[in-house]
Symmetry: D2
Subunit: 361 residues, 4 copies
């Protein structure tokens, strides 16, 4: 339980940080899609460690291999199995924390839940698992793109540096042109400086990723429990280090009055639009055709390069020393993960919408 995501378009992952390999199985991708492996590779490059001075300097090549589900370059409708090898990891690196519970990691909770844990690099709880999500999401993205739907995420906050929430003011494509993935070059520079300063303090800091989805047809969402934003929220909250999710007007919308918040319907370009979009493109849990946008809060990474007091499995007080190469701020590398999970939700809900009306069957 818990290793699969989606109903019709479905991703299952397996693998631990320091096991032999990670895996991603994508079920339900419609047959006949021309799959571009380079686009998968590109997404994995965006996530991989060591890509800049503000990410961990660990080297992971993230070479993947598609084992099934693709024939002569096209998807066949059968499950697409992908394996991502873990390059040679030195397990002895982790002997010093083998029986220690690192603060605000999952060491203690996995131990309580299972009575046993693979302590090497966090095992299954490591964010390394998200490599499999990005691989699977890259397939979802290609499927969506074939239907005109695009997804773009970017960094909108680092610590207390907050980008203007009106994303229409920015050219979102600029986000990929700097190492922090913020579409405002000036703000990007400030964010990079802040992360770098935190890194030198041997500390970490949190951030926010905003995601915008364009060209979603109206009608996607499965009320009452599987509302489109509820599934998006779950998808985001399932990513390591995420503490919050809001869409449309979000927590700020709380302060508004209904007369300000309501989005007026208008006819435009031969179809229904809304003048404002406080709804975030979703009304009653169903897409209305406007941009879908949401914000995802990431806490500061728990691994810091400092000594911390903690407990070991025997209940004794111990010192946990920060070692290795870790991210001072996770959001630049989280951007493709947010996009991947969003793509998986949209792909799934697009398929689900195909049986809503009798006339469509």
């Amino acid at each position: 339980m818990g290793n699969s995501f989606g109903k019709l378009f479905r991703l299952t992952t397996f693998g631990e940080s320091h096991g032999k390999a990670l895996g991603a199985i994508v079920e339900g991708c419609p047959a006949g899609l021309e799959l571009d492996e380079d686009l998968i590779r590109l997404e994995m490059q965006r996530r991989k460690p060591g890509q800049s001075k503000i990410t961990t300097q660990r080297k992971e090549e993230d070479e993947f291999q598609i084992l099934s589900g693709v024939f002569e370059g096209k998807t066949t409708g059968t499950p697409i199995g992908i394996v991502i090898q873990n390059s040679d990891q030195k397990s002895k690196d982790y002997a010093h924390i083998a029986d220690k519970f690192r603060p605000s990691h999952a060491d203690y909770t996995y131990f309580e839940k299972y009575g046993i844990r693979d302590y090497r690099g966090g095992g299954r709880s490591s964010a390394r698992e998200t490599a499999a999500r990005v691989a699977g999401g890259a397939i979802a993205k290609q499927f969506l793109k074939s239907k005109g739907i695009t997804i773009q995420a970017f960094v909108s906050q680092v610590g207390d540096l907050i980008l203007d929430s009106d994303y229409s003011k920015f050219n979102l494509e600029l986000a990929e042109e700097n190492i922090v993935r913020c579409p405002d070059p000036e703000m990007a520079d400030r964010m990079i400086s802040l992360i770098d300063a935190v890194r030198l303090e041997r500390d970490t800091i949190g951030g926010v990723v905003t995601c915008v989805i364009k060209n979603t047809p109206a009608g996607l969402g499965e009320p009452v429990f599987d509302r489109l934003h509820a599934e998006l929220g779950k998808a985001m909250l399932s990513i390591n280090a995420v503490k919050g999710f809001e869409y449309g007007s979000g927590f700020e919308g709380v302060k508004m009055k209904g007369s300000q918040h309501n989005d007026t319907f208008v006819q435009e370009d031969g179809r229904v639009h809304t003048l404002t979009n406080h709804s975030g493109g979703i009304q009653g849990g169903i897409s209305n055709g406007e941009d879908i946008y949401f914000r995802v809060a990431f806490k500061p990474v728990a691994t810091i390069m400092q000594d911390q007091e903690s407990l070991n499995e025997a209940g004794e007080t111990v010192i946990v020393s920060g070692k290795g190469r870790h991210d001072p701020c996770v959001v630049p590398r989280a951007v493709p993960i947010v996009e991947a999970m969003a793509a998986l939700v949209l792909a799934d809900y697009l398929l689900l919408s195909k049986s809503n009306k009798l006339a469509d069957i």
Copy 2:
């Protein structure tokens, strides 16, 4: 798809605002639980309209009947079917909006999705559906209580009136002693005044509900996708009018450094605790035994007692006039709904945790 919630402990609901009845089916409640119908009734009273001057003045009696799954006062392990009659509703009340799309409601999206919609009172998209959730959640709550787990929600924000986020400063039981359900009596008075003022403006306003879960055992959660907080987030986001969810340090935690944010493990009372609880009782998606707490943002209700411009099904510009009796602020009545959904998640995850370890089978 979308009308059930949960894997082992599972709620399914059916019913429209102005249909004959609503229904709640609870599957997976362990056999042998003494079920107190009065406690279900109590929860439904907390949700029902017309309970105070700051809620809608609509009258709904919300009488329910248990049709199955209980024998001689105890649950039998078979599904518990509950029907909640809709008292005589005047459908003609809705003729004036039969073909109009009310702004920021689900009228347009349901129409796009299904090509047909029950326009009476919002049909399936009406918050009336949450009555079935409260009934189901009241059963989950009783199950959890038999295992020592308690859930308490309260109003922590109305408009820009924000309660101190440190809930330990308040006696949470006081929340039920005022009509806005805020545990700080002074703040409660201010919130009530604000809502009343907004009501007189024929407008609405948003709010936040905070929820605290105590005595959860360590080990609940199903990573990687079904993290405990991810499922709680989905549960909350599935409630009408919710725009955001955060747990533990939430969006504010973004601004912290890792060295501040990490929760130090200590031994206390013979078991592992943390000195702080920025984690919100969940680490790596699994409960650690500390209090679980989270915040849920509700937008201002879309129905306002004012004229608004909109479109009808033919794409023509029309005026939608606010009629009827609606809530100026939804959060006081949302408190039991938040608790119900939280109870459903916890009940489900408690059952799921029973097969984690070989020694437990």
Copy 3:
């Protein structure tokens, strides 16, 4: 777990034999279907007790009420909730077996599983639950009929009276013209005589129901685990008293050689057909467009009008006396249940097939 069937087109049932009511919730029926309540009523009449001298003489009116999901005569895409009242049942009738385990009933196993059981009439394990299936299946049938797919079941064996297995020799519509539901009038008479004789012996006897599905499009089925016939098999085996399922050539096909068994493809009427149909319309778990047919074995009903030795909950030897009005042979009334379950499978798989090809999305 276990009270729902189907993925996209999904039936959930609740209710016990002697509880207040049964319920059926149908999710996923596409919106816009004109629903004929009389056709639901007709199916329930075919299942109901007391319809002839060879069925139980119990009276159950099986009045049902649709509570949701239908608006102005059409399905809206929201869940269709149906309640079937249990007419006034005398619970004291069952006091004599309250702590006894009836042989080959579910009394003992429910008690072991749940530690508590509603002993009145078998509680949840009673075949009365199938009334809810027939109601739900009647909706699936109407959906399928709108797409040209028809389902017809009939009795093909009672005890050792076995109808010729080549169903094409019979006018299947004749099955509804006699009380045993066998399409061969002469065989029907013999079957009726046999059942009547068994009834007079205060005993019961088994039988087989054959089901034929016509006009299924090619392409329905979800290999590898959810093959179309695997889901049909599960559906049938979930019906009370069923002991076996075979499709196409079935157990007899075991004796054949590959060269005899293989169905030759031919072009006919502008589409692909097979000369023979040992495959039963399903190849590799996917429909091929030919008739789907299968046989379902029902054991003799466990309730006999004789004294039997057994145990009570205390482990003491007791006598269980047959009382009440029970079916001497269950297959005549099982015909509409088999059809209902088949319709649910086909409806579900038809919806699932809508997202197989990229070109269809």
Copy 4:
């Protein structure tokens, strides 16, 4: 959809006959199980081709690698990912049937469903996929064995050679001592001769596998739809070439009267037993603690070493020539597959049963 089996203990497979590799992902195996890789290897040896003169002479080494979920020899509760390499397969072998529909194979139906198919060796529809099932089932078997539950299958029919249905007459362990896997040595010889004769005719023949499960605790099964035998039936019907399933008295039981068929409860060895076991160890869909037994019918393999008339994708009449090395009778190699699927069902239902009673939580 369709590539996973099970709810809590869950197997997902991927891979095609001639793709790079097959995969099996096992979720939900309780943590702390000592996993013996040799036992997995042993099961795969029992299934692999080329093991005797009556099976295909193809060579497949079926080397597998466990990529995750096991740490220091024990399961950790995280998904166990297994990859089975496909050794170098000559794809050109299949050029001659690239656009032809082989009779009674899945070529036509996959083409209709997906509009594209991997024609090499049947692609996903090949029985090679069952190698992944056997690997996953071998883990389930070890879990069950740790709880005392054992599963043994054997060949009980080949063509019209039928073993006495009373399995208690045989020492079932003898089944593994001959190449046809029949526990009666004399019958085994006759079966081997028959298969050999059919092979020389360049033809194939069907058979039946019987499976016996011992030491199941009472209480396993999830009525009403997920009855234990319904899930076992689905599991078996999901295996390639299966045409029928019956448990306990099965189709023969149809001819019995209730007074003969009912199993009398008796107290023995301090617990409840039944004198006979026509119920096949399952009553009302729930295990009663007696032996569970069932029979599975396999059709004659569709690939025969003869020329057959058929169609190609263009609708033209073509000749399909039998080539390669195929099984003249599939049942000897199906024995471990039946056991694997049975083990998966039992493991899953054992876990599901852990939350039935309040006192167990």
